[in-house]
Symmetry: C2
Subunit: 777 residues, 2 copies
C-alpha cells in the first residue's frame, strides 16, 4: 500500500516527483475517451522507469500464445491490447542538452489529474547539468468531444538564461508491447508524411492488418503571440517529427501546442487515412486548444451531472473516500462511452497492456449495472449488442469443444468474439461466464423495461446459451439428477470441480429465463418468434421439455445439517478453516502457497455461492443469505479485486454495516493506494464498477423490481453524508443520505414513483422528498 498521492475531492495530485513510483502514477493519471487512451507519460521523454502507452480502442494483435503443454481446443492466439504510436512526444533540448527528469534536478514537481474537467497537468522546475534552469508546464487531454484526438499545451520558461531551445514534437511508431510473449514487434510502417509543423505516420498491425494513422499539428506561441518558426521535418523508420530551434529569453514563456489524432481503419477508409487525419487535425486546430479544453470541461460536467457521488465529511478519510469513488467513476467513463458496439471494457481499459483482450465476464457481472444507472440506455444496450454480434463466434467456440450446432459458449477473454484464454481449467471450464451474459440481458430488460430487446436480439442469445447448458449437463444414474462435471466457478481457487452450485444455479436460471423469454417474445411478436424458430431450428416442444426436465432435476449440492448449499460436491471434505486462522505472513495465499495447496484448501478467492445469492437475491430469504454469508465469507480471502464489492452489497443488505464498510474500503482505493502492488501495470478498471456497486447497491440499496426503482439507503457511520445520482427510465434523481435523513431530488420534469424502504413514495417533477431515518437500536 502506498499513500504518496494527495487526498483531494476532485484531483489526483502528486506533489514532488516520485521517481520509483512513476509507472504507478502513469497508470493512475491515464487519460481516455472511449476511443483512445494514453498513460500519464511525460511529453519530453524519460529515461527512468516508465511504461509508454497509447491505446486505440478495438485495435489488437493476435500474439502467439505461450503454453506449457498444448490441449486440444486451445485458441491459437491471445489478443493483445496494443501499444500504438507515441503521439505525445516532444523532445526538448536546451543548448544541446536534452531535458530528461531522470538526468537533472527537479524542483516543485506537481502532476495533477483533474477529474472534474478531464485533463492532466504537470509543472516543474528543472536544473540541467549545465546549470540552466527552466520552468516547464504541460497540460493535456484526450478529447471526449473530438474523441479521436488529444491536445497538449507544453510550455518552457528559462529561469536563469537566454538561449536556444530546440523542440522536436514527434510521432514514434516504433513502439512495442512489454507484454509480448516472444518479444515481437507488432506494427509495420505503411506511409509517412511531414509538412510545415505537421507530420503523419500510418502504421499497420501485423496479422490483423489494422491501419492507424497518427498525425500531429504544431503551433508555437511566445509572448502570448503565435509565431512563425523554422520547422525541419525528420523522417526516420517508423518515426516522423518536426524539429524547431527557438531563441528564448530568461522569463519568457514559449508554448508548444501539439494537436494529435489517431484515426483507425475500423472507422475510416484505410486508403485515405493520412488525408482524413489531416482534415481532422485542421478542424481541431481551428478550434484551438482553449476551445477544445472548454468543450472538454463542459462534456465532463455533463457526465458528472448524472454520475457524481459525493461523500460528506471534513476529515481526511471522507475526502479520501470521495476522491476514491470519483476516481473510479472517472476512469469508467474514460474507458467506455457506449458509442460503438464493437468496443468493450478491457480489464485495464486504456491504462496498461496487461491481460490482453477487451472483454471478460466482468463486463456483464460488474460493469453493466454502473452504465445502466449512470448513462443513457443505449450505452448498456451496446454492451449487450457487442455479445449479440459475437454470437456466431460463441457458437463456433462451443463447436470446437464438441458441442452440437446452435449451442454457444462465450469466450472467457476476447477481442473479436474468439476465445483467447488458454488455461484449460479456465478456458474450457469456467463456463459460468455464459450465465452472466444471459443474466445481463435480464438485468438490462428489468432496469430499462426494454422488452423489445428480447424480441430483436436477446432471445436468440438466450436460446444459444441454454442449448449449451442442456448439453453440458449429464444425467447421473447414481444421483438420479442432472449434474455438471468438470467446471471452475467464480472462485478460481477451485478447478475442475463437479457441480459448482453457482454454475448449476445460473445454468438452471438461464434455462428458466429462456423459457419465460420464449413466452414473452411469442406474446409480443408471434411472427418474429416463428421466424426465429426457423432461423435457429428451434423445436420448441422438444427443447422446452428437455429444459424443464433439467431445471426440475438439477443437482444442487446441499448439506442438510448445516442447511447450506455447498460450493461444489465434496466441499465439506475439506479442512474447514477461516481466514483469521491464517498467519498474516501467508497472505495473500496466491503469493505464498503452491497451487495445489490453494486448491485443496477451503479458502475462497472471490464470491462464489454468494455471487449466486447476490444475483438471485429474491430466491432466498434473509436468514438463508445470512447463513451462507456467515459460512463462506470468513473463508474468503478476497484475492480478486472483484470480490469485496459483492460481499459489501450483501453485507449492507443483511445490515452488517461494519462488514459492508470494511469490504467497501478494500476496493475503494485499490489503485490509488496500489493495494495489490500491481497498479504500475494499469488500473483495475472493471473492479472500479464494483466499488460503485458497493456504494449505490450496497449503501444505497438500489434495486429495480417490477418496473420500480427501490432504495434503502444508509450513510456509513464513518461519513456525514453520501449522495449519488441515478438514472432510471428517463428520470434522473439524486439520493442524499445522512445519519438522520434521506432526501431525494428529482431532476426530471415528470414525477417519479420509487419504493423507499419498502414504501411507495412519489416525488414531483423537480421536487425534493425528505424522509427522516429511524434511529437504529
Amino acid at each position: 500500500m502506498k499513500q504518496y498521492l494527495q487526498h483531494d475531492p476532485w484531483c489526483i495530485i502528486e506533489n514532488g516527483f516520485h521517481r520509483d513510483y512513476n509507472e504507478i502514477t502513469e497508470s493512475v493519471m491515464s487519460l481516455g475517451n472511449g476511443r483512445m487512451g494514453q498513460r500519464g507519460n511525460f511529453e519530453e521523454g524519460f529515461s527512468g522507469k516508465t511504461l509508454l502507452g497509447n491505446y486505440v480502442a478495438g485495435v489488437y494483435y493476435p500474439d502467439k500464445t505461450r503454453v506449457g503443454w498444448w490441449k486440444n481446443g486451445y485458441p491459437n492466439y491471445f489478443a493483445k491490447v496494443l501499444n500504438a504510436a507515441n503521439w505525445i512526444g516532444i523532445d526538448v533540448e536546451i543548448e544541446y542538452e536534452k531535458l530528461d527528469l531522470n538526468l537533472c534536478e527537479v524542483h516543485d514537481f506537481r502532476r495533477v489529474l483533474n477529474m472534474q474537467e478531464g485533463y492532466l497537468e504537470r509543472n516543474f522546475v528543472a536544473t540541467l547539468k549545465s546549470g540552466r534552469q527552466l520552468q516547464v508546464s504541460a497540460k493535456r487531454f484526450c478529447s471526449i468531444v473530438d474523441d479521436e484526438s488529444g491536445a497538449i499545451r507544453f510550455s518552457i520558461t528559462p529561469l536563469n538564461f537566454d538561449g536556444k531551445v530546440t523542440l522536436t514534437p514527434y510521432i514514434n511508431g516504433d513502439v512495442s508491447n512489454r507484454d509480448s510473449n516472444y518479444d515481437e514487434k507488432f506494427w509495420d510502417e505503411v506511409r509517412k508524411e511531414t509538412g510545415y509543423g505537421e507530420a503523419y505516420i500510418e502504421m499497420r498491425t501485423r496479422k490483423t492488418a489494422f491501419h492507424v494513422c497518427t498525425g500531429m499539428m504544431v503551433e508555437i506561441m511566445q509572448d502570448g503571440q503565435r509565431i512563425d518558426f523554422q520547422s525541419q521535418p525528420i523522417r526516420q523508420e517508423k518515426y516522423v517529427a518536426n524539429r524547431m530551434t527557438l531563441d528564448c529569453k530568461q522569463g519568457q514563456e514559449t508554448v508548444v501546442y501539439k494537436y494529435a489524432a489517431n484515426l483507425s481503419s475500423m472507422n475510416y477508409d484505410p486508403d485515405r487515412l493520412v488525408p482524413l487525419t489531416r482534415d481532422y487535425l485542421k478542424r481541431i486546430v481551428g478550434k484551438g486548444f482553449d476551445r477544445m479544453l472548454y468543450e472538454q470541461k463542459q462534456a465532463w460536467a455533463d457526465k458528472w451531472k448524472t454520475n457524481d457521488i459525493t461523500i460528506g465529511g471534513d476529515d481526511e478519510s471522507a475526502i479520501a473516500a470521495a476522491q476514491g469513488i470519483r476516481f473510479n467513476i472517472f476512469h469508467l467513463n474514460q474507458t467506455y462511452t457506449g458509442e460503438d458496439e464493437r468496443l468493450n471494457i478491457g480489464p485495464k481499459g486504456f491504462t496498461g497492456e496487461k491481460y490482453g483482450g477487451s472483454t471478460y465476464w466482468d463486463t456483464e457481472a460488474y460493469c453493466l449495472p454502473f452504465y445502466l444507472s449512470t448513462a443513457d440506455q443505449k450505452v448498456a444496450r451496446n454492451l449487450l449488442l457487442y455479445r449479440y454480434k459475437q454470437l456466431d463466434k460463441a457458437i463456433e467456440n462451443a463447436q470446437k469443444l464438441g458441442f452440437r450446432a446452435g449451442a454457444a459458449l462465450y469466450p472467457m477473454v476476447t477481442m473479436n468474439g474468439e476465445e483467447c484464454h488458454n488455461e484449460w481449467e479456465i478456458t474450457f471450464e469456467e463456463i459460468h461466464r455464459n450465465g452472466a451474459i444471459a443474466y445481463a440481458i435480464y438485468d438490462y430488460v428489468r432496469y430499462t423495461g426494454d422488452e423489445q430487446y428480447l424480441v430483436d436480439y436477446g432471445l436468440e442469445v438466450l436460446i444459444a446459451i441454454s442449448r449449451f447448458w442442456s448439453q453440458r449437463v449429464n444425467w447421473s444414474e447414481a444421483k438420479q439428477q442432472y449434474v455438471m462435471l468438470g467446471v471452475t466457478g467464480p472462485n478460481e481457487y477451485e478447478n475442475n470441480v463437479n457441480n459448482n452450485w453457482y454454475t448449476n444455479y445460473i445454468a438452471a436460471w438461464t434455462l428458466r429465463y429462456t423459457m419465460e423469454s420464449v413466452e414473452k417474445v411469442k406474446a409480443l411478436n408471434p411472427e418474429r418468434f416463428t421466424a426465429l424458430c426457423d432461423k435457429l431450428h428451434f423445436r420448441e416442444e422438444k427443447e422446452v421439455s428437455k429444459t424443464k426436465q433439467i431445471v426440475e432435476k438439477m443437482h444442487f449440492p446441499y448439506d442438510e445439517q448445516r442447511e447450506l448449499f455447498l460450493q461444489q460436491d465434496g466441499f465439506l471434505d475439506k479442512e474447514l478453516l477461516t481466514v483469521d486462522q491464517l498467519p498474516s505472513g501467508q497472505r495473500p495465499i496466491n503469493q505464498h502457497w503452491s497451487w495445489d495447496r490453494i486448491l485443496r484448501s477451503c479458502f475462497i478467492k472471490q464470491a462464489d455461492v454468494l455471487q449466486g445469492m447476490y444475483f438471485f437475491e429474491d430466491d432466498f430469504d434473509a436468514e438463508t443469505v445470512q447463513r451462507h454469508f456467515d459460512f463462506y465469507e470468513p473463508m474468503t480471502v478476497h484475492e480478486s479485486s472483484l470480490s469485496p464489492c459483492v460481499h459489501s452489497v450483501l453485507a449492507s443488505k443483511l445490515g452488517l454495516r461494519d462488514k459492508a464498510y470494511e469490504m467497501y474500503l478494500r476496493t475503494a482505493r485499490l489503485d490509488l493506494d496500489d493495494y495489490n502492488n500491481d497498479t504500475e501495470d494499469g488500473l483495475h478498471i472493471t473492479s472500479m464498477a464494483g466499488t460503485w456497486l458497493s456504494v449505490v447497491k450496497g449503501f444505497g440499496g438500489l434495486r429495480v423490481k417490477e418496473d420500480s426503482l427501490l432504495l434503502a439507503p444508509y450513510c456509513p457511520e464513518q461519513w456525514q453524508s453520501l449522495s449519488f445520482k441515478v438514472r432510471f427510465r428517463n428520470a434522473l434523481i439524486q439520493v442524499t443520505v445522512t445519519q438522520t435523513e434521506v432526501s431525494i431530488q428529482n431532476f426530471s420534469q415528470q414525477s417519479i414513483r420509487i419504493v423507499l424502504f419498502e414504501e411507495s413514495v412519489t416525488i414531483e417533477g423537480s421536487g425534493l422528498k425528505v424522509v427522516e431515518l429511524e434511529k437504529e437500536a
Copy 2:
C-alpha cells in the same frame, strides 16, 4: 501404422531408402551403450528429413520453461536431454560434388540394425549428378565395452570412374535442440585441437557447465592396407575436422575408420578432458575396429544369454513378434546398464530429445522388474540408489509446496532430483509417483531378498515418503475418514480429483510397508535404527500412531451395489460408456476431443484402479479383480503406451488369453510399426519394459513370493512356443512353453526350487524339468 521395415528375428532391416520415414528409421536404428547414444543418422550428412542426435548420459540443460500462466511452486527450468557434438560426420566429395542421398540417385539401399551383435550397417549405391557411381558401406557401433566411444567403418568404392575423393571426418559442436523452448543454443565452445588424423573439441553447456570433449582419430585403408594420407586440419567455430583428398580407382575400396569418444566432466577432470580423450582414443585405436567389434559382439552375446526371449513359429507373425520383443530388450539394454547410479532411464533413452528429463515413475513401475529379472542385482539396486541420492531434493520439493520438513515428494520428471514438470495438475497433483518409489523398494527387496538395503537406504526413503502421505491427507469431518483431495491418478484423463482410489491405496500401503520396515530394520540392526531416528528426528511412537490412524481410517471410494472400488469420488456421476461406443473417427480421443470433454468423460487413458490391482494383486481375490477388469477395461482407451501391458498381465492372470494377447500386440511393435505416429521423435523406451512385462509376468506368470520364484506360463495360441530367461538370486533359468508342455532349464550349478502352477518343483543344477500342460477345457 507403418510396416516398411522387414521382419527378421535378429535384425531391423530397411530395404530401399524410405526418405519420408527417415526420422522414424533414425529413431528405430539408434545405438547406445548406457553412457552415450546416437540416432541412426547418416555419416555423410543428409539435406533431407533428419533429426541429428548424439546424447551423452547425464548431461542436460535447464531450458527456460514455457508456461501460459505461472503457478506458485512451478520449477524454473525444464531439464532437456541435449543434442551433443556430432561425432559421426564424414563429409564425402567426389570431384567436388558432395555425397548427399537427398540429391542423388540411390540404389540397393539397405540399412540394418543388428541387435544380436549391436551394430548398425548401411550399404547403397549412389549415382551422382555427374553420373559418377559409387558403392558405399558404413558400419558403426557405440561400444558397450569401451562405453565412452564409438567406431565407424565407412567405405567408398567408385563403380564407374577413377578420381579424387575428398573425405572430411569432422566433429561439429554447433548443434542445437529441435525441442528448445526459445530456439536457444545450449553449448559454448571451450577449446579445440587438431592434429594429423585427429581432432578434439571441448564444449560446455550454458548454465549447467557440463564439459564434454568429443574427439576423433581417423585411419584410411586402401587395397586392404593402412595408408598415409595428407590431413588438412580445419578449425572453425565449434567445429574441427580433417580434410583429406585421395585418389581412388574404379573398383577400389577406400575405407575410413573413424574412432570417436565423448568424455564428460561428470566422470573426468574438466581441465584435462582433451588429453584424456586423446589417451582414450589411442587405446581404442590400438585395439582397432575389428577387435572392438568382436568385443562388442561378445558383450552382446553375454547380455542375450540372460535376456533373450524367443518366440517359436515359422509364420510372419511369430517372426514379427520375436523381432518386436528383442527390439525392446535391445533398446532397454542400450539405454541403461546400471553402471552409474547417477543415471536413469529417459522416456526416449538415447533416441530423441523430446520430453526432457531422464526419470519418470516409469522407471519404478515398469522398468525395474525388467532389470531385476534380466541383469545383475546391482543394476536394479542402482536404480533405487538414484532416488536415495535425490532424497534431499525430494524433501526440498515438498517444502516448496508447503509440506513440513522431512516429507519428500519425488519429482514427476527430473534429471538431478529437482522437479522439471510444470502443469499444475501433474507437477503438484500426480503424486502417486511417490508411491511407486516406495513400491520399487518393496519390489526389489522381495525379488532379491536384500533386506540390508532397507537398513542402509530404503527405510530412510520410506519414512520421508510416508511423512508426505501423512501430511497430504486430511481428516474429513463429513466422512469421518481421511481423504486425499486434489490429485491426478495414473489415468491422466482425470485431473484434480478427490480420493483417487489408486493413490489412496498406494499411500495407505506405503504407510503400512514403512511400519513393517521400521520393525524389520529394528530387528536387523537396532543401532542403525536408533541412529536413523536421530538423523531423521523420527519420533517412532507418535509417527507410527498417526500412521496407524490414517491406515485404519483411509477413505476408499466404493460402490456397494456394484461391489466396486471407484476410480475417484463421484465417478458414477459420469455417463458410463464403453470404448466400443466411440465412433472410430473420434479416436484417439486426445487428438479429437477438447480437454474438458476428455475430463468429463468416463474414458480412461491408462490403468488406474487396475494399476493398483496389478501392483497389489495379493490383496484381492480373482473375482474382485475380474469385476474391476470387466468394469474399467472397456472404458480404457489405452492412449498411454504404458497402458496395455498392465492389462495384458492382468488378463493373463484372469485367464483372458485373447485379451492378454490383444493388449500385448498393442505394445509389442509400437515403435517398429510407428503405431502412434511419433516414433520420429524417438522410441518409447520405458514402455518397452511393459512389453517385456506382458510376456514374462503375463504369459510367463512370473512372480516372486516368500523368497520363491513363481511361474504359471502359457504359450499364446498364436505361437508355437515361447521361451524366456530369468535371473533370480544367482540362478539363471530358461522357461520354454509350447501348447503342450513347459520346460525349465536351469543354467546354474546349484539346484533351484520354484513354484510352478502353484506346485513346488526343484530343478537340479544344469538340469531340465519338463511338465506337460493340461489341455484347456
